[in-house]
Amino acid sequence: GCGNTDNGSAATGTNAATESAAASESAASGSVFKIGGIGPTTGGAAVYGLAVQHGAEIAIEEINAAGGINGYQVEFKFQDDEADAEKSVNAYNALKDWGAQIIDGSTTSGACIAVTDKTKEDNMFQITPSGSAVECVQYDNNFRVCFSNPNQGLASAQYIGENGLAEKIAVIYDSSDVYSSGIYEKFVKEAENQPFEVVAAEAFTADNKTDFSVQLQKAKDAGADMVFLPIYYQESALILTQAAAMGYAPKWFSCDGMDGILGGVDNFDVSLTEGVMLLTPFAADATDDLTQSFVTKYKEKYGDTPNQFAADSYDAIYVIKAAIEKSGVTPDMSVSDICDGMKAAMTEITVDGLTGNGMTWTADGEANKAPKAVVIENGAYKAM
């Protein structure tokens, strides 16, 4: 349906902040944490940026309602970067002008890498919810919530191999996308050590993602009993539809980008996803309280089912909260001091979030969390 995405994003964040700021005495003017978010809210990748924005907004609202972080209220502002590196730097600069002290972003890998350079210069704490390329956490002030691409490629290959899920595997990936090609590379490399064989590796590009008949036909002709889809759910939905139409029914295996397939595509026939396996840290229909309350709020507010980007971003805010609480930094400290404090705290905190229980971080920015392998049964995730 029509999500009311026309809700002014930053407005929502700030409104929430000011409302609860009025309630909370401790938040005198100037003593609020300012967190900036970056991601595409227009253009072809808008769906991911909007998810990151909305996920964070929910977390911010909860935190402020519960009295803030260490008693300080939090303000949040989100800036559009159109998934472009240069615009992402602009967005970062705009946030800096606004007074941002901490960055939740950027959403997409390429853009995120460009921003890491800038946050490094300013020594500003940056945690990306979804930037999965290796270089997204290249500096000591960069952290991420999601898995890295090689990590996912490796884990996928190992999981398939160890559980003997398939013998012949075809890969369909987006050769123009950092995330997808990153996972693909590692997967194929690792496949050499595994008991299965990659029989076909077919690509598509950002400009060429309506028709997948050839890729599917090739997978079929190569006799693949499993198709690995290290891609996002929007394209996956099309692939599943087209495979069904041509009567091809292999096993499907995917990564966290697939998350969202159950609710992220309006009007999509989810029966097509029956049996799809994926490694994901988040499931919108998990039954734990945290997920349920998040999903309910999200649906209420934005009319959509949250995907993994939203969950990652929600967690990112709570990670920020934990790091602040641990380090005891205050809003009146300089950006650099806040960063130093939080950096140090990052390796000491443990966070239970939507995307993992007991998440911890290494100093090089990677999250320690176990990917959960799930399979879709009766339109719902089920642990494997």
């Binding site: 998934a83 472009d84 590196a85 002008d97 890498i113 460009a114 050769s175 123009s176 950092v178």
Partner: protein
Amino acid sequence: MKKLSNKKINKTFRDNLITYGMVIAAYVIMQILVSAGSVSSLIQGLLVPLCTYAILAVSLNLTVGILGELSLGHAGFMCIGAFTSAFFSKVMENSAMPSGLRFFFAIMIGAFFAGVFGLLIGIPVLRLKGDYLAIVTLAFGEIIKNLVNIMFVGRDENGFHISFTNTMDLNMSEDGDVIIKGAQGITGTPHDSSFTIGIVLLLITLFIVLNLIHSRDGRAIMAIRDNTIAAESVGIHITKYKLMAFSISAALAGVAGVLYAHNLSTLTALPKNFGYNMSIMILVFVVLGGIGNIRGSIIASVILTLLPELLRGLNDYRMLIYSIVLIVMMLFNWAPKCIEWREKVAARFKKSVKKEAE
């Protein structure tokens, strides 16, 4: 007779001087403001991109305004300049070469390769006309983007390796270093671009383009634009001059690419930055600023690059407002009715100024 020709030289001279002066003044003012600390980070961050887009617009104006051919593949040349130069800089990063010299060579390399591609593409393509030429340039731009996206280049002790599938096919030794990683492009290009260098490059671009226009070759190029058959009939070598304009234009776009690549730590060939959308965006600068009007190109590129950034306060409505403003500006600048109205207003204004002076 002397007087007349002098007048003309003076007029173009003055016109060019205004253009250079405008750029230099903008530079000086910005530098003063920056050192006074009264420029926001956003604007500071935009200084190099502004130079990049201004160079692109000027260079495309050479093709569209002066040569009179519609090119929709300019981003492709920018892409070549960006990747070749970033590759060079990455390779030389740990060599003994001082960074200034390295960047100088990077610029030369970017311009050279983009220019050579311009030449190679121009030879077959410039026989086509109008929209057919446009679509073929668009096609070349897309081909370049596609190939860059699947290109892997690595280096180890055995030298360079190239593959068009994935890194494994590079067959590199353990401690080899993959420099271009397909869709992941090049990361960690040294940050050599600066506002000063950008302005210098813009001034050089202006110098080349303006001087070319007002020379014998420029006249030949414009004659071809105005009437190919007549130009041939007075002995102008059509292909030669078309190619000259096209490859100079491509080389300058390559320079813009170098500036772009050395301003960000990541370089990927996405539809957004090197696809036809970008080519079209550059064309928008050119047309909005006035076809053949070099100064207009610079102004339009600055306005249209700043606009979406300054509209950030509008949040979700940002790009919507941007598109409306674009349409309105186009109507204002180009609709004959608006032009007439503007002229009238200007005339009235002049009159009243005169009266006051009296």
